[in-house]
Subunit: 359 residues, 2 copies
């Protein structure tokens, strides 16, 4: 079994799977590109490893492969989009395009989305703004795994925030992070390696600090960025809450402990107060604030100055947000991508089921 | 010496001091209200304790008490404001008003500000949006005290973010936090009490973790929210960077290690790439997304559900962002405010210098 693939091989396969479940050519391409951007950028937990999960959601009737995605409310700089239970990977593309179009006319565009599903990595959607000389923003809520400060109840998702800022001589600034101390994927890695996790990542169901990588499966919770009260976990809790409110309370999606789960075998929450997952997107035209020339001169200067910040003894240099992901993307496009055996086995199942050639 | 005062006593005194340095009646009232909101909300480090600091900046010619604050660039949903070296307390009021007016017409309003000074607490400005049925956002850069992840150089300020979200039957959600693990004021408290600080708040000039409350004075740096790499300090570093770029690179203010200091005795940075401090404000009209009725129903539901989240054994209940500050404000308006002796001595000096009656 060959575990090394080119991007094109993975794209073709993913595209054909999405076609088989009923996506249009256009939607299948949009979804494949968004999904695989995670693998390219080194965030394998959110990429092709989740393809079979999306298919199971479609089987369970929770994803509509031919959605009628539409704007249901708008002003010159805002819109609310109903995703019609579509793939978040697809709905988000149209929502971000809408934000960009609003920004062309009004200076900025802000789009809150309801009735959607998981959208892959936030950074991919935020980066759509870059080629338009705009700052892009993307965030989403997600099913509850995180306990607020002082609580033992899972109330919030890992609710990521991405901000992409264009530059000219320098590569863009792209921050993309969960509002928890550690993403759930990091716990999964520790589980596979049978390793402990650092304190500050998760707590037991009784609210005690834990180094057990399986603590979430045992009723525990991830901790908000900051880890504990003394290290300001109330700030991570506030950030995750803001993402939840912008994504869902503004749009009419479900929120807090009622956000639908990703695994199709997990029952839907009872008495959901809204429809599906929620996202929030923003686009700000650079020249809505100052000339592009001035902005690009200073953002390049900002990035160059930070790149030269004096490193501590243990490190050679500091990192500008987006550096590691961009380097991974360049490497993966050049050298191809490696997939883990369980992922390959998953894809083989899909290839049999849908009679799609697998490499 | 009586250290207990009513809000009105402190307001009259502050108002008269601002009048004496040349502020108009309107500006003196705006500045006093903004400054004292910090004392009311229990963030004493940013309130009347800083009044003499603002006066010293005026003496040093770094603050213009009669600024010509004007919009120098705009689109339907954006503006850039030149603060003309005014008090940030005053400039921010006009900037936030501009954001609110933009939002009335375009759905949202976003204002980046250059050539300003320290603006007090971010939350006060964000909360201006609440009475207009809008979400308010405020952030500012500040002089460099924070080392990015992997660095030992002070490159960023404590760069706070505030987000105020209106509610109806519930009090509003008001998050207001520095993007560091601990605000500098917390180190100052430990210094006064001659106590150690927890690890994760600050590092030495060589980048080692430190529990010495005086470590900043000895060339050390505050740590970004997250504290260290293992606990995701790169996320706090990214957040502080976003605040810096939105506040200054979008507006033409100074940024990164070149942000002007608050103490008037500290020399201005050499080769500043922009003018003064920068801020960034946003206002989003609720009904630019959905009807007020729907929004208020669900935000009240969100807040009530989170308030009922199961607390851990050690705590009675969890906190909604803004709860402690609102309770402090209600108490202070009812019972008055206590000032520390060094603050009272500072105010006595000001009362003599400007011949203003001190209680």
């Amino acid at each position: 079994m060959n575990h090394h693939y080119t991007y094109e091989q993975l794209f073709d396969f993913t595209y054909n799977v999405f076609k088989k479940i009923g996506c249009s050519n256009e939607h299948a391409a949009i979804a494949s590109k968004a999904l695989l951007s995670a693998d390219l950028r080194g965030i394998e937990s959110h990429g092709i490893a989740r393809l079979s999960g999306y298919i199971r959601l479609w089987e369970a009737g929770r994803i509509n492969s031919a959605p009628d995605i539409k704007v249901i409310h708008e002003t010159p700089s805002t819109a609310v989009i109903d995703g019609d239970k579509g793939l978040g990977l697809v709905v988000s593309y149209y929502a971000m395009q809408t934000a960009i179009e609003k920004a062309e006319n009004a200076g900025t565009g802000w789009v809150s989305v309801k009735n959607s599903n998981h959208f892959g990595i936030a950074g991919y959607h935020a980066m759509m703004a870059l080629q338009h000389d705009m700052i892009g923003i993307a965030m989403t809520n997600a099913s509850a795994l995180v306990a607020p400060t002082f609580s033992i109840e899972r109330m919030l998702g890992t609710n990521p925030i991405a901000v992409a800022i264009p530059a000219k001589t320098q590569p863009p600034f792209v921050a993309d992070f969960a509002t928890t101390t550690a993403a759930n994927g990091k716990l999964e890695i520790a589980q596979r390696k049978q390793q402990d996790i650092p304190t500050g990542w998760a707590q037991t169901k009784d609210g005690k600090q834990s180094t057990n990588a399986n603590v979430i499966k045992e009723g525990g919770a991830l901790l908000p960025l900051g880890s504990d009260r003394e290290h300001a976990s109330h700030k991570g809790y506030a950030l995750a809450s803001i993402v939840d409110i912008f994504s869902a309370v503004l749009s009419g999606a479900s929120y807090g402990p009622w956000v639908p789960p990703f695994p199709a075998y997990v029952p839907m929450p009872q008495n959901m107060p809204g429809e599906g997952l929620g996202h929030f997107f923003g686009a700000m035209r650079i020249d809505a604030f100052r000339t592009k020339e001035d902005f690009y001169f200073h953002i390049d200067n900002w990035i160059q100055r930070f790149r030269k910040a004096k490193p501590s003894e243990e490190y050679n240099h500091i990192i500008i947000p987006g550096d590691p992901e961009r380097e991974a993307e360049e490497r993966h496009l050049r050298e191809g991508l490696y997939l883990l055996t369980p992922v390959v086995e998953d894809l083989l199942q899909l290839s049999k089921r849908f009679s799609i050639n697998w490499h």
